[in-house]
């Protein structure tokens, strides 16, 4: 196996040091909560409903990169591929809460679910109201009848974007919960990997792939996808991915969607653009309107080569929130 090279200092400190680097790139718009692996906006509007996102590290710029104006109010960041612990979640919750409660928004994984749930109990003990939306956009990870078994992948970005805009304008946690739940329910993704990622502390790839193999239904961690396939031409691959999403969330003529083509790490922008070309051809053939397109490295899995396609279906309410200008380290929209 090839040696994994990384520009790091101490493999045990990567989560901490990268968070520090990110905060320094924000130039004062967020601050670190010491000993809590968390960051919070410095310009938190008074009395707003809170939005906390979080999960394991190693997916940079997710989650910390989406803390900012009309986005999340803070993020709590675990170690590489490990959900943050309850004490840290609680710490971030306390820093964010302005008396209106805090929405927990994160990817649906056993580890995150348990840790955030424990934190929610601890918060309740402190009279901080919380509600939870778990993102489960990955259509490959379970059939529709077990949608609650699906995991959260790059579709996180769409849900955070809508939730962030909503959190800036609604006045109750219940409203934020309702809108965020809708955004989650209108989001679908599917991913493929061409090569594995690694964990800095082991310095080992988390799985192996043959020279012409791809992993279909790839997530954001070292855990493998749903099945193996052969590397086929881009247009064919994209077609099969779009088909899979549309089976799950049928779209009709004149439906409006936002498209996210997310780089899992080491794919080239050239490939993502070729993917987008096909996605747009498909939707133009079907009369589906693409409202906005995001292409880039938003939710990554270390040096994994591969990408995912996510769709957010819009209704008038979601469109309004989606179109709210946002400003964070990793997402700026006008």
């Amino acid at each position: 196996m090839p040696v994994i090279k990384k520009v790091i200092n101490d493999p045990k400190q990567v989560a901490k040091e990268s968070l520090e680097g990110l905060v320094l790139a924000y130039h004062g718009k967020v601050r670190i909560l010491e000993d809590c692996s968390s960051i919070v906006r410095t310009d938190l509007p008074q009395g707003k409903v809170g939005l906390l996102v979080g999960g394991g590290s190693g997916h940079e710029p997710l989650f910390a990169g989406f803390v900012g104006e009309n986005l999340a109010d803070g993020s709590v960041n675990g170690n590489v591929f490990a959900a943050p612990s309850p004490d840290k979640i609680l710490c971030a919750t306390q820093a964010i809460d302005q008396g209106k409660g805090v929405l927990y928004l994160y990817g649906n994984y056993a580890g995150d679910n348990m840790n955030f749930d424990i934190a929610a109990e601890l918060a309740a003990d402190l009279d901080i109201e919380t509600r939870t939306v778990r993102i489960w956009d990955d259509v490959a990870s379970a059939p529709p009848e077990r949608i609650e078994d699906r995991r959260g992948i790059a579709g996180d970005l769409f849900v955070i974007k809508v939730a962030g805009a909503a959190a800036a304008s609604v006045s109750t946690l219940d409203d934020l919960f309702r809108i965020t739940t809708k955004a989650r329910d209108y989001t679908r993704s599917i991913g493929v990997a061409l090569s594995p990622g690694s964990i800095p502390e082991t310095g080992e790839y988390t799985f192996e792939l043959g020279p012409d193999e791809i992993e279909i239904g790839m997530g954001l961690h070292g855990e493998q996808g749903v099945s193996r396939g052969k590397l086929i031409p881009a247009d064919e691959l994209v077609d099969s991915m779009i088909d899979r999403i549309l089976e799950d969330m049928p779209l009709e003529q004149n439906d409006k969607v936002c498209v996210l083509i997310n780089n899992l790490g080491a794919s080239t922008m050239m490939e993502l653009l070729i993917v987008n070309r096909r996605v747009m051809q498909r939707f133009s053939d079907d009369g589906i309107k693409v409202h906005d397109t995001l292409i880039g490295s938003f939710c990554t899995s270390q040096e994994m080569a591969g990408f995912s396609i996510s769709l957010l279906k819009l209704d008038d309410e979601l469109e309004k929130y989606y179109d709210t200008p946002a400003d964070s380290f990793a997402l700026k929209t006008r």
Partner: protein, 213 residues
Amino acid sequence: MSVTELTLEQTQQMMLYVSQKMQESKDLLSHADQVIGDGDHGIGMARGFESVEEKLSHSSYLNCGELFKSVGMTLLSTIGGAAGAVFGSLFMGMGKGLSDAQVINETNLSVALQAGLELIQKRGGAKVGDKTMIDALSPAVDAASDGKDLSMGEFLDKISLAAEEGKEKTKDMVSKIGKSKTQGERSLGFPDPGAISVTLIFKFMHEYVRSIQ
């Protein structure tokens, strides 16, 4: 001379020993998680038990309940991920079960393990057969409750064996919970990493007890 209980002091020594040995098991556990999970189980367990070792080296406790709760809290806040919640809950539940006991023995350990199992299941909802650490822990809890009048060594040996058998059975299970569940059938043939950890924890407890007999 066969021991039938451990003092608070010995219990703390035992957990120190377990902590050291779990750190040494880092690569073994990560490799098991590479095959069917995301490859970090050993890293997390080692990080957690390093903190436990640190904590126990500098603390003293009023009773065994406090001791186990402290182990649980430390694991919960330093492992993170599924294992943090699960193994944190195991020891916190045990601590609750042990309450203000000054010693551990067959009777109160059996209660404690049951309490640990319940807390984990309350948190994570996994059942026997889902291919998780529950599949090693649950048989161990059963074994703990049915045996009578064993020495600590015999008792822990029995628990270890039950856990080990349960862990072996996870090879024939299709994962239903945790990072490995998306792999479905592809998880067949490999043991669950968390189940290996359970087996090791009991094994190291047993080793410690043997060493003081």
